[in-house]
Structures are given as C-alpha cells and as structure tokens.
C-alpha cells in the first residue's frame, strides 16, 4: 500500500487513458506501472468499481493517478473531443487530461498482420489525429505471420513516409514503431519498438505533469529509425525515390526532429519530394498493364507507355480474389443500392454494366474466382495533372472540357479503389484498408507538401456513388450529403481532389464540406411542378 494525496501534502494529477477495449486498458496500465517503478515511483494498481484499472504513482511529492476507460462509447463521461476524434477511426489509446480538456497523445497499436498495404489500414486515424495536432504513434509488427499461409510478411514503407510528411506538414509528432523480426514474427518482446512506444506514452504523461521525461531522445531515435527503414528498403519497393541521399540521413534526422520542436526548417533540406520530371527518374520497372481494359485503364496504360505517368510501387500482388458467385453478389449490391437512391437523384447516370461484363471476362485470375484489380498497381503517379485530366475527359466523354485546368501544372496521383462490395450499413465506401490507404498515399505523395501540392484522384471503377452520397432537397435546391462514416471522413479529408465513380459521376472536392463540391454531371435543379418537393 502507498499513502495517497488525502494523507500527504502532494501535488496531484489525474490522467485518463481512453481505449478501444478494457483489456487493452488493463494491459497498458500494468505496463505503465512497470515503467514507473523502474523510474523510482512508488506504484499501486487496483480496480475501481471492480473493473476500472487505476494506477497511482508517487515520487518527489507528486502523485499521478491514471484511470483507463474502454470501450470509448460505453462510458457516459466520454469527452466530446475524444468522440469527435474517433469518428475518423478509433485508435487503441488516447491519453486525456480532463482538467485542461486536452488530448496529450494517441497510440495505434496493432498485432494484425500488416503485410504490404495492410499497414496503411489504420492510416486514416493516424493522419486525422496528427492533422488535428495530436502527437501520435503507430506501433506494428515489422514481421508478422499471415494465418492463410503461415508465411512471415513485412509492411511496406508508405507509413514511415506518411509519418515524416505529416511531421513536415504539421509540426506535430507522427512516429512509426515496429517490433519482432524475421525469426520471431509477431513477438512484441523482440526489438525495442513496443518498449519504446510505451515509454513515450509514459513520457507524455510526465510531460503534462511538468515532470522530467525522456521523450526527446525517443523521438529523435525513432525519426532516425524511420529514415533508416526507408534507406534500407526503398530500392526493393519503389520504382525510384527521387532525391533520396543515403549520405544525408544525419541531416534529415536533424531537420525532422527540429520540425517536431516547432522550429523552422528549409523545405529544400527535406527528402521525399516526388515532384521531379519522370524523364529524370531511374525507373526499375514500369510496364503498363491493365488487367481489365476499362476505358480509363487503357488511357492510363497509354500515359505510362508515353512516359507521362508511372507506378511508384514495384512490389505488388492481386491478392486472393473472391469467388464468381460472391462477386456477382457484390455487383448486385451496387445495382440495388444505386436503383434505390436513383429515385431521389434525377439524372443520376446508370451503372456501367459493360464495365462489370469486362471484369467478368478479364478478371479471371484462377478457376472460379474473379479479381476486380484493374491496373498492375493501385497507385499511379502523373508528372502533371493535365495529362490525367485529359485521360479522364477522354475516357469519360461527358467530362470533355468540363474539369478545371487550374491544377494542370501540379503533379497528380491516381488511386484505384478496386473493391466492389456495396453494403452501405457496414460502411463499405472506402472500407478497410482503403480508408487508410487514401490519406496515406495522399500525404506520402505530397498532397500537403507546398513543394508538391499533389492532386489526388480516386477512382472507384465498380462502386456506385450512392455508397457515399445522397441527395436531398433543402430550401428548393438539391443538396448533396455524405453517409457519415470513417470512410467518407477519410475521403473528405483530402482536398482538393477528384473522385470518379463507376457510373461516371465525377466529384471535385474543394474542401471538407460536400456542399461546396462540384459535380459532373451537375446536380439537378428542382423542377417547380414536381409533386412533394419542399421548396
């Protein structure tokens, strides 16, 4: 037993840890207790109300009480600020000081097999938290075993690049930690990643209490770790990483570290600027290949062949496609949803049945299975938006001469979200991992970087816009509304951007307010003689 503030003159602090579930809260509390003990605190852990983990740590006349609450929404006293943050995806932990109503730190911690792009599955919450000024860490296995084949896999480099670009754009801490190795996949005790991220977690609590902490050394070390990861692996993952200089890692480390401290850094000193002429790149592999020759896919193929665009990633696969029967069901979901909402959306283009037919014909990757993967890679980089705009306007005749040319000189990224499912009740618009991939690719690709100002174009070759959008009449006008979920929040977070749906509807997002978006074809006007329309 330790004496608490009631019996001694102590400076007291109370911190809340909000988490996705109470088991993780209990585990985290015990890990923090171990760290506190190591650092000379007198520590006690107990359970309030028989189940709420409580940690009391006392040292040098200061008492820190930590309470863990999870799952977020089960508690009546969940802070509004935390509810607002988790609407964009729930991280595992949010550290909160109720007395100042401030979020101190957030941690996304996963043991899921983050193979390849799957490591970006949680990027939507990571990006959202950091862009809202919350220091955030993401801890994942460097090697993990995939249950389907028991093989060990590792994540790609988009997350460390995303984190560094977020630091550059916001000055807010964004760090990637990893644990485990090739011989010991999934093992949190191997490597320093999990240990360090929990020490950073504790450090932010100490910092808020005004106590000495070691966050700075962890931050600096982790920035270097991310840079080293990029340096060691980029040649096997990217066509080219323009301007990357292995001899400048010390300088990169110093620059990103200074950014996290709110200091100014010359942007020219920072790496990861993709905005260079394609002709100057040493592309290892850039064979165009449209698995399913939809009109836009054929245009992209031509653009790659002509050197106007390229695939940034070289390591890719089509994954395990669903059965034909399942795929037919997914397409049917789109048809049903589209038909239902088309009744309230005059002039909504019908779905492109010929595109589905093309998928049935060209998407057979193994007997009885259909792949919806359209291009050789889901991410295509254009040197100039102008070329992508022309391809969009050529592939979709109704867009000819319609799209703005104000972004023509900027670089562009085309992201192909090839998923087909259309179960709106479960938020299948930008479902996992796409909800994370979109902001990760956008941020890593320079959408927030003033030196690049990359324009994001997302293409949903199979899905109806009705997964994300509805139309209603307000004050005599048709007004678009989004179906609110983390997918649509992720979508609205990247602007300016363009989005093309299966039926040819193009949405130009100019801000995170959908009512300010431009639609091609334009939204209908309310006819005065329409019965039942509220003017």
């Amino acid at each position: 037993m330790i004496s608490t503030a009631e019996s001694l003159e102590l400076e007291t602090h109370e911190i809340e840890i909000w988490c996705d579930n109470q088991v993780e809260g209990f585990q985290a509390t015990n890990i923090l207790a171990d760290i506190a003990r190591e650092q000379g605190f007198d520590v006690a852990v107990d359970l309030l109300q028989g189940h709420i983990p409580r940690l009391i740590a006392i040292k040098d006349g200061v008492q820190i009480t930590i309470l863990a609450f999870g799952p977020f929404r089960a508690w009546q006293h969940e802070p509004d600020d935390i509810e607002e943050r988790i609407l964009s995806g729930k991280p595992d932990f949010i550290v909160y000081n109720r007395s100042t109503n401030s979020i101190l730190f957030a941690l996304e911690d996963t043991a899921a097999t983050c193979t390849g792009n799957q490591s970006q599955q949680r990027a939507e919450r990571f990006c959202s938290l950091v862009r809202n000024g919350i220091p955030t860490a993401y801890c994942l296995p460097a090697y993990a075993t995939k249950p389907t084949d028991s093989k060990s896999r590792r994540p790609n480099l988009w997350m460390p690049i995303t984190a560094l670009k977020l630091i550059e754009a916001t000055g807010t801490l964004a760090l990637i930690f990893t644990y485990a190795d090739e011989e010991n996949p999934d093992d949190r005790t191997v490597g320093e990643g999990f240990n360090n991220v929990m020490r950073l977690f504790w450090g932010f609590i100490l910092r808020d209490c005004g106590l000495p902490e070691t966050c700075e050394s962890i931050i600096r070390r982790q920035i270097r770790y991310m840079l080293d990861a990029i340096d060691n692996q980029h040649e096997g993952l990217f066509s080219d990483l323009p301007g990357w200089d292995s001899d400048s890692l010390d300088q990169y480390e110093e620059s990103y570290y200074r950014l996290t401290r709110g200091e100014d850094v010359d942007p020219e000193c920072l790496p990861l600027n993709w905005n260079v002429p394609i002709a100057e790149l040493e592309l290892k592999e850039n064979e165009p290949r449209a698995y399913i020759p939809l009109p836009l896919a054929r245009r992209v193929d031509s653009d790659i062949a002509a050197g106007r665009a390229y695939f940034p990633s070289i390591k890719r696969s089509r994954g395990k496609p669903p059965t034909r029967t399942s795929m037919f069901g997914y397409v049917r979901e789109n048809r049903d949803l589209h038909r239902t909402h088309a009744e309230n959306w005059p002039g909504l283009f019908p779905l492109r049945e010929n595109h589905y037919t093309s998928m049935y014909r060209n998407g057979v990757s193994s007997p009885g299975r259909l792949s919806s993967t359209v291009l050789n890679s889901g991410l295509v980089r254009y040197e100039r938006f102008r070329d992508l705009r022309i391809s969009l306007e050529t592939a979709e005749a109704h867009l000819a001469g319609q799209l703005t040319n104000e972004f023509d000189d900027r670089p562009a990224l085309l992201f192909v979200a090839s998923n087909v499912k259309a179960d709106v009740t479960n938020g299948w618009f930008l479902r996992d991992p796409y909800a994370g991939m979109l902001p990760s690719f956008a941020v890593a690709g320079g959408c927030l970087d003033p030196q690049q100002r990359t324009i994001m174009v997302t293409w949903f070759p199979w899905q109806t816009p009705c997964l994300a959008l509805r139309l209603s009449v307000v004050d005599g006008e048709y007004v678009p509304q989004v179906v609110d979920n983390k997918g649509t929040r992720s979508w609205l977070s990247i602007t300016p951007s363009f989005t093309l749906f299966n039926n040819g509807l193009m949405v130009h997002l100019t801000s995170d307010d959908i009512t300010e978006a431009q639609f091609y074809p334009p939204l209908p006007e309310v006819a005065e003689d329409v019965e039942g329309v509220e003017n």
Partner: protein
C-alpha cells in the same frame, strides 16, 4: 465518484480475464475482445503462439487454462444470456475444433502436461439492472447446451461451466461461477467450482444435471 457505463459483452469477457489473471498465473490463453494482440492463441507460460485462427474461423471469446486442475475452459460470451442459445451449435463446433489443437504437444510451446488438459465447455453472460438471468434461464441454457454438445459428437467430460458477470446499482462488477455436471464427473466438477469460488470471491453454484432427469 462513480463512473456509469453501458454493459456490453466485452466488459464480461474483460472482467473474467482480469479475475483469472489476478488469481491464476499464466491462465488466459485467448480473449476475443480485440483483434490485435489477441488474434492468436498464446501460451502465456512460454509466451509463444499456440494457434493462429484463420480469418474465417469462428472463435471462442475466452480461453483459460486452470493449470492446477488440468482443465481448459473454452467460452462463448454474450451480454444477454438469451443470446447464447442461438450460438450453442456453433460453439460446440468451436470446442470440437479447438480440442484437437489443444491435445497436440508443440515442442517449446505447449507441453505434454498442458496437452493432456481436459477441455470443458463454458458460457459467459452478463447480469444487472435491465439484464435478467434467472436461475431457470441459466439451468435451461445448460440443459440445451448439453444436448447440442451431444449432437455434435462431443466426447469430452460431462461438465459445463457458466461464467456470470454481475453489474450492481453502484456500477460495480463482480463474477460468479456455475458448474453443471453428471455424476461420474462430480469430483472434477467440485474442484472447478472451488477454484472459481477462489477466483471470484463468490461461492460457485454447483448443479447435478441428473437432478432433472
């Protein structure tokens, strides 16, 4: 200060998890309240992965080894006891599948003593203001469960365990164990009941299924 919360299934699994962990060393092999750390069934004694369920596999919600008794509880959980009835058939299959996993020795991961454990089917539910779980509901559930187990070619012991979580008016959570058995398994059932009483601090309910036959 009292913190009010809405009782969900996860609280039930969590409460039993911490009660087991605080009373019995290296006891919790798996909880299904989260996808991450807990996606794999791990042996906490060796800190090794014992089994990786496939994504399509139906999972148990809580798996616990009672080392001193040589017993493994494989538990299906629901917030409301009424919801458990619909899951009995699936859970019976989960028990059958996992029984073969737990019976295999894995060098350095799962030893012969552990692999010789007796598998005991278990159900977990929550009870509290607005969440009834009467004695009749509980016993009816376990007779139905026994019936489903027999239909599923279950060959394990004639013992079943109930794990109840009780939320009181003060938002306090406590636990109580139930052990249902047939006569030949009375001794083992009694040992389990006593151990659950130690874990929960509440006397377990001990029920001979023959009383109804």
């Amino acid at each position: 200060m009292t913190y009010d919360f809405k009782m969900v299934e996860g609280f039930g699994v969590y409460k039993w998890t911490i009660d087991f962990e605080r009373s019995l060393d290296n006891s919790v092999l798996f909880t299904n309240v989260t996808g991450g750390e807990w996606k794999n069934i791990r042996n906490p004694r060796t800190e090794s992965v014992l089994h990786i369920p496939r994504q399509v596999d139906k999972r148990a919600d809580l798996i616990v080894i009672l080392r001193q008794l040589g017993v493994i509880l494989i538990t299906e959980a629901k917030d409301d006891i009424k919801k458990l009835k619909g899951d009995l058939r699936t859970h019976s299959q989960v028990i059958k599948d996992l029984t073969s996993v737990f019976s295999r020795v894995q060098h350095g991961v799962w030893n012969s003593e552990e692999s010789g454990s007796t598998i005991v089917p278990a159900l977990l539910w929550c009870k509290g203001p607005g969440m009834r779980a009467t004695g009749i509901q509980v016993t009816d559930l376990f007779y139905a469960f026994e019936s489903k187990l027999k239909q599923s070619s279950y060959t394990g012991p004639e013992i079943m365990v109930g794990l109840e979580v009780i939320k009181d008016e003060r938002q306090h959570l406590s636990t109580r164990g139930y052990v249902f058995f047939r006569e030949t398994w009375k001794r083992k059932a009694s040992e389990i009941a006593n151990l659950l009483s130690e874990v929960t601090g509440n006397e377990s309910l001990f029920w001979d299924l023959n009383l109804d036959s």
